[in-house]
């Protein structure tokens, strides 16, 4: 049992190392702090922006340098993965979220509605994020996002 656990930890840490190295452009065991979100999320976690900021605070230097060192990142991230923190969102939960924004149960959100919710509510999108999401989701004919289909497509893509 103990062996198993060690094996799991070792394997997890290899995964973390790999993901980190993809962004370690200078091969000096540091990454730009702005890439941490991408690394964490590509390891299977789905933190909110707030949770991400907390995580970054944990791995930053006392005097923030704009870079995160691998030595600090590894133990924190290992813990996150072992505890299975920041779980990804299942398809049905995501669907209900969209439905909550569509109380009339039309099955879609208009472009304006989507923009309003995404840029004014929750943890608002930047303009770039909004534009990219619109490009990918809005049906140009109806100018709306049919969220059920959208989710299905994305989930396949994402697997």
């Amino acid at each position: 049992m103990a062996d198993d656990r060690e094996g799991t930890v070792a394997e997890l840490q290899k995964k973390i190392k790999e993901a980190f190295e993809v962004f370690d452009r200078e091969s000096n065991n540091t990454v730009d702090v702005r890439e941490i979100g991408t690394i964490v999320r590509s390891l299977g976690c789905c933190p909110s922006e707030g949770e991400l900021h907390d995580l970054i605070a944990e791995v930053e230097e006392e005097e923030p340098t704009g870079y995160i060192r691998y030595e600090k990142f590894l133990p924190v991230m290992t813990k996150v993965l072992l505890e299975k923190r920041y779980r990804p969102i299942p398809e049905d939960v995501l669907l209900r979220a969209f439905e909550a924004l569509d109380p009339a149960k039309r099955g879609f959100l208009t472009k304006e509605e989507l923009i309003k919710y995404m840029t004014e509510e929750g943890e608002p999108f930047s303009q770039e994020e909004m534009e990219e999401m619109l490009a990918a989701t809005i049906d140009p004919e109806t100018n709306a996002i049919h969220y059920k289909d959208y989710i299905t497509t994305m989930m396949i893509d994402d697997s």
Binding site: E11, A19, V22, R41, E49
Partner: protein
């Protein structure tokens, strides 16, 4: 009433809270989605780069192998000598005085039916512009004009210094462009967006004009034409690909397939101009392109002439350009021993190829000098990669085998240093075991055993006749290799560039020292593909500029060029010569490039199936047929050595894992099924061929020195044997014979190289078309193919 209102408020509050939470959830989910896309994009990039560089390593390895044989093998019979000579003659086309006479092109007639551009000399700006337009319309320049242009180009280049000095006093703005690699769309786009060259608009093209893209010839012709028309304003630097030895290589495993046809909109101010041109799929080495475009009757005379002249033209290309004595522009980079004065003084025409150093002729006096030289530098002689002690990959031709590490030892072989006795002894041992190894191989290959050779006598050097000026010195050669092959790195210092196999990695301190030494302020170089088309490093003292957009695949990267005014402030312009990409969403773009990368990666995996299987078996100690995913990743890395994030890539490469365990044999079988469709070829043989096809092609081209397009079965067999034994490929004699015979389609005892390669392409094409067609190939759109590989 009161309670009603508060209930309403309560509901309102709840609804607002719901909306807030719902939005937050969607955003959270979306951000993760985007992050995963970004990770995929990065991984895809790594795949392309690592495969590209591994391919370069292969080529260098192959070259090393041949070089080593030349240096150490003494042929004992006339046949062997001839055979070797044909294989290793550095000069593909020996120098003859005819080269200086202009009779070569004058006797070529241009038929009346020819509708392409006609050139007359001296060239006028209109001619150059007409060329651009003609090529845009897919016309081809007649061989006569090509040769004429090349002769004029060579005459012009020969009187230029090694380092061109440019001033912003003459033309106010100077545009510097990086690698184009035969991608004509990008060149045409640059001229469209930035303007054609003129006395007010100077250009510097920083090397690597050819190879990989399909229009290397056209790019060269355009560049040379403008250089002749605007000699003061239009400048070229030599790149590592302006080298006939590098051009010999078939391909690098990349496939570029774009749809559509060209149409330009000069009326609009659109940034993106090109609807992409269809690039003939797959593998283009420049040599192949020329031979394909300039076939003339059975003997491909024009192609040969053009290549012969180009070989010379490349050697006359300047090595670097300096703007206002402040900005240094060269193709690769620098090393901690780069000496601009030496580079300015050497005879650059003597640097035939940066792939291999051509030593001086062995005369009595020189043999003496060489002995001294050898003793001093033998410790620095690279341990050939095919020796047992250096089999650990990735090996570099420059790495010093087991010599104890010292600061100098970690650099690329440069300064021959006086060696302590220990090193001499070691190198003697090395040479002895190498000789033994060599003997074994030659015996295997069917040549009689050779005695130990203390001193390499190389008949191949007879090209340098007595009375000719000696070749470049080793030091001069290395200086040029350094500036054409080096890459910057983040760490300080200077070390051998093991990835490329030539030049070095140089750190910010090296840059700083060089800039200070020569009172410069910026180094502009190319040589490396960058996602944004450019990249600053070393405190913005080094700028990489790369002008071939969509280099790996549609959507893979932007191209860029940089403009400098009298203030010498760099102003970067980016582009992507493919309108289609802009219409795709990020997801689609990434997905497309990713598919391409994964395909290339799967091919590579397949090519190493046997090695992978044995690695898997090693880790399957209980013989369950299963291994963990961690072991899977480790096995892949130990065989392929690409440094890729295998765990990240696993979902794309393995679909069949149950839990953490993978049935490796069936995974390998599935890989094979994707790649194969010919039951009548043994899969192991095809696998081997796949892995070595680019090397095979290169070998063929080397053997086929007269470019007849044919080699004899026997030559093929012998060469393959030699090659395979050193590449550690296990193939029985029977297999080789079978293979040779099956390739000889018309049974005349000769293999047509082109047919062989064509057959390969057919195999690949029908493989990619899927196993839907039950292995009944050869009837596809290619029309008259040479028939199935292996069919009677």
């Amino acid at each position: 009433m009161g309670s009603g209102t508060s209930t309403q408020h309560h509901f309102a509050f709840q609804n607002a809270e719901k909306a807030f939470k719902a939005a937050a959830l969607i955003q959270r989910w979306y951000r993760r989605y985007v992050a995963r896309l970004e990770m995929r994009r990065r991984c895809t990039w790594s795949i392309f780069q690592s495969i590209e560089y591994a391919g370069q390593q292969d080529q260098v390895k192959l070259h090393d192998f041949f070089s080593y044989l030349v240096d150490h093998f003494t042929p004992s019979s006339h046949n062997e000598r001839d055979f070797l000579n044909r294989m290793f003659t550095e000069e593909r086309f020996p120098q003859d005085s005819e080269m200086d006479k202009c009779s070569d092109y004058e006797c070529i007639e241009v038929p009346d039916t020819y509708t392409g551009p006609r050139l007359s000399f001296p060239l006028l700006p209109d001619h150059a512009t007409a060329l651009v337009e003609a090529f845009r319309l897919k016309q081809q320049l007649h061989a006569r004009y090509v040769l004429n242009l090349l002769y004029e180009t060579r005459k012009h280049l020969a009187q230029l210094p090694n380092i061109t000095r440019v001033s912003t006093c003459y033309s106010e703005e100077i545009t510097v462009c990086g690698d184009l690699h035969g991608q004509l769309d990008d060149l045409i786009f640059i001229f469209y967006k930035n303007g054609l060259p003129s006395p007010e608009r100077a250009y510097v093209f920083n090397g690597d004009f050819v190879d990989r893209g399909k229009d290397s010839v056209e790019i060269l012709l355009i560049l040379f034409a403008f250089m002749l028309v605007y000699p003061k304003e239009f400048h070229l630097n030599r790149g590592n690909h302006e080298d006939h030895m590098v051009n010999l290589r078939g391909h690098d495993g990349r496939k570029l397939e774009l749809e559509g046809s060209w149409s330009s909109n000069p009326g609009t101010a659109e940034l993106d101009v090109g609807i992409p041109i269809r690039l003939l799929g797959s593998r283009y080495g420049f040599t192949k392109e020329v031979m394909y475009k300039y076939k003339y009757n059975l003997f491909q005379i024009h192609g040969k002439k053009i290549l012969r002249t180009l070989q010379d033209v490349f050697r006359w290309l300047p090595l670097a350009t300096v703007i206002d004595e402040k900005v240094l522009i060269l193709h690769g980079g620098v090393s901690d021993r780069t000496d601009l004065e030496l580079l300015a003084k050497l005879d650059r025409h003597k640097i035939i190829s940066t792939m291999r150093y051509t030593a001086r002729k062995e005369s009595e006096k020189q043999a003496e000098a060489k002995k001294k030289d050898d003793q001093a530098s033998c410790a620095q002689r690279p341990t050939p990669w095919f020796l047992p002690q250096s089999r650990s990959l990735p090996s570099s031709p420059f790495r010093l085998g087991s010599v104890p590490k010292s600061p100098k030892a970690s650099r690329s072989c440069s300064i021959p240093c006086s060696s302590p006795l220990g090193r001499q002894e070691l190198s003697r041992q090395v040479r002895r075991s190498v000789d033994l190894e060599l003997e074994r191989c030659w015996r295997q290959a069917g040549f009689p055993a050779v005695g130990e050779a203390e001193e390499p006598l190389s008949p191949v050097y007879k090209d340098l006749e007595a009375g000719e000026l000696p070749a470049a010195t080793r030091e001069e050669w290395r200086q040029v290799v350094d500036i054409l092959w080096s890459d910057p790195m983040a760490q300080e210092g200077c070390k051998a560039n093991t990835v490329r196999g030539g030049g070095c990695y140089f750190g910010p301190d090296v840059t700083e020292a060089l800039l200070q030494k020569y009172n410069l302020q910026l180094l502009i170089r190319s040589h490396e593909c960058k996602p944004e088309g450019y990249e600053f490093c070393h405190n913005r003292k080094v700028l990489t500029i790369f002008s071939a957009s969509n280099y790996y695949e549609v959507g893979s990267n932007r191209g860029a060029y940089v403009k400098l005014g009298p203030a010498l402030t760099p102003h970067i312009v980016q582009y992507q010569a493919n309108k289609a990409t802009h219409m795709l969403t990020m997801r689609q773009r990434i997905s497309r490039v990713e598919q391409s990368a994964l395909k290339a990666l799967r091919e590579k995996l397949f090519a190493h199936s046997s090695d992978l299987l044995s690695e898997f078996k090693k880790r399957d100690t209980e013989k369950t047929g299963l291994i963990s995913l961690g072991d899977w990743a480790a096995a892949l890395e130990s065989v392929l050595r690409l440094g890729l994030p295998w765990r990240m890539l696993r979902p794309q490469l393995v679909s069949s894992a149950v839990g953490n365990a993978l049935e490796y044999k069936s995974w390998l079988d599935n890989l094979a099924k994707e790649q194969l469709s010919r039951e009548n070829i043994q899969s192991s043989l095809l696998e081997t061929l796949y892995r070595n096809r680019s090397n095979l092609e290169t070998i063929f081209r080397i053997i086929d020195s007269d470019r007849s397009g044919f080699i004899s079965l026997d030559e093929f067999r012998q060469t393959w044997k030699l090659f395979s034994s050193h590449m550690n490929v296990d193939i029985t004699d029977d297999c080789i014979c079978d293979l040779a015979r099956s390739i000889d389609f018309n049974k005349d005892g000769h293999i047509d190289i082109n047919e062989f390669l064509e057959a390969f392409r057919l195999v690949e094409r029908s493989c990619s078309e899927g196993s839907a067609s039950d292995g009944s190939p050869g009837t596809d759109a290619a029309g008259s193919g040479p028939g199935r590989l292996g069919a009677p």
